[in-house]
């Protein structure tokens, strides 16, 4: 599903970061673990095509990200990738269900109400689907964030520190949710974290 080779990235005026080569078969999950400051989020941005690498190649499925134009990259990311961000990002002027609907609309222009309801049900968001996102509790925001990463059934889901603010019990629940939803969508899940508690859930692990 994901394959990288000789990947490196340098921020302007910063040190060059080198990343180990990755190879993840389709449908399998991957945990990338490492302490703060080694470029975990940078790697996620590279893998999702939000940052162009300074060197090396990235393949997602059969597609070479480095060969795509900016617009093609936007389309590809929108259609095939889901991202669960470390900070929650929503459209604040829309309600919970509208945020989900918006995610479905681009770029395929789909509108699957059944899927929204089902996902809301499973993630415990059914009661607040017409609430503004600013009115949600932290836990609800976390779950909405997961929903937005998965609602469009992407081939691959990237999750950036999904458990960092959670207690042990919730940590397990959230990881399980992510895994379950990824199974249902037949998506590959790539979790990037410094959280050692997540380790026991994944067979494929890469340490940065």
């Amino acid at each position: 599903m994901v394959k990288t080779k000789n990947l490196a990235f340098a921020y302007e005026g910063g040190q060059k970061l080198f990343f180990p080569d990755l190879e993840l078969p389709a449908g399998e999950h991957l945990l990338i673990i490492g302490p703060s400051g080694v470029g975990k989020t940078t790697l996620l941005h590279l893998l999702s095509g939000l940052l162009p690498p300074s060197q090396g190649a990235i393949h997602v499925g059969e597609t070479a990200l480095t060969a795509l134009t900016r617009k093609e990259l936007d389309m590809f990311r929108g259609a095939h990738m889901g991202i669960v961000f470390q900070q929650y990002h929503f459209i604040k002027s829309l309600t919970v269900s509208e945020n989900m609907k918006l995610r479905q609309s681009y770029p395929q222009n789909a509108d699957d109400k059944q899927r929204r309801n089902l996902l809301s049900e499973r993630l415990g968001l059914a009661d607040c689907s017409s609430k503004k996102v600013t009115e949600l509790s932290q836990g609800q925001k976390q779950r909405l964030s997961i929903a937005l990463g998965l609602i469009h059934k992407p081939q691959i889901v990237f999750a950036d520190e999904p458990t960092s603010n959670l207690d042990d019990e919730n940590c397990d629940r959230v990881v399980q949710l992510l895994k379950d939803e990824a199974e249902i969508c037949k998506s590959s899940l790539v979790i990037i974290t410094h959280d050692q508690r997540v380790k026991s859930h994944f067979q494929n692990q890469v340490v940065l």
Partner: protein, 445 residues
Amino acid sequence: MKLSYLAFKNMVSKPLNLALSLMLLWLSISLVTFVFQLSEQLSGQLDKNIAPFDMVVGAKGSPLQLVLSSVLHIDVPTGNIPLSEAKKLQKHPFVKIAIPVSYGDNHKGFRILGTELGYLEQYNAELASGTLFQKSFEVVVGSSVAERLGMKLGDTFVGAHGLAEAGGELHEDRPYTVTGILQPTGTVIDQLLISNLESVWEAHEHGEEGTNDDAQKNSEHEHDDQGDHDHDDHDHDDESHEGHQHEETEHDHDAHDEEHDHNEDKEITSLLVKFKSPLGMVQLPRFINENTEMQAALPGYEVQRLTKLLGSGVQTINGIAFAILLVSALSIFISLLKTIRERRQELALLRTYGLSTRQLLGLALREGLFLALIGFVLGWILGRLGVLGVSQYLKKVYGYGLELRGPDIFEFYLLGLTLILTFIAALLASSSIFKLNVAKTLSDA
């Protein structure tokens, strides 16, 4: 989900920004459309009303006042002229039509005009019901008057002295009878009660002495000076005519018999003239102004002068309104700039959803254009409400109303201008979208 929906939601999510930009736009658009309608309709009304006549001959005074009073019926007359003088003009070879008018009374604020049937023809007035006046104290009623006063055929009323509604003495002994009601013409006729000349004369043959009404003060009342000694002289032949007497006819008064007296002493307020040839326009007014005690005024010229005067006012207001329009474009620019900065993370999020830079730009432009459209429509409606308000007022005071019209071609241009200004403002405000660093924006919380 459509981008337009998101743009709309984004727009209404900042009600204070929205209100400020909207109000500025609202104000400028309503001002421009209101003033435009007002000046358009005013000059349209004026042109329509003066169209039938090339020249007005009346007593000396302000030519504009003469036109306003005798043609448009919104001012007091300059005075009276002798019918005999007017009769001479009627026979002039350059004159095609010359219609005498005489007035000085009102019924509930609507003027009672004594004239000839030709007057109605000039305005293409047609009867809605009844018949035209045939003898004295029969009256045909303009459509607005009939509507406002609820007049029917056969109704009777008495004229009140003067042209204003309040305070005039009633001519109780000379009631008018409504014999006809006119169809709406969109001209001054709609506001008039029209009878023959004799009615107006006869109404004033009684009870004239005590009534020094404002409207007639500036004209007829030389009789204040001469009344005392005159009284004795002609009480016996015609006690009524003091009110209308003029100095010229004074001298040979005693020598005339009663019938002659009627023709010579009769006065009218003015004579409305249409020329046979353009030569008349060149020669007659100057001849009259230089050689007679009367004054000739050209309605076309006077109205042109008036609209020129009004025009500078209109231009000033338009200038102010366009300045506000620019400020409102500036306000849209600033508020979009602000919201785009505040929503940088949301825009970056949309990029990860697969929206292109162009689509994000479209989002911002839509937000601006929605605002412009809503502001314009609200402004347009407010402008029309203004027209409605002024129309009510004008109807009450001058008897002229304004129409509520649909969108004018000028207003479409204005809409185009507003949209272009907003488009430019929104485009400038969205330039940061091109430079959006998605990865960095999303990781800075």
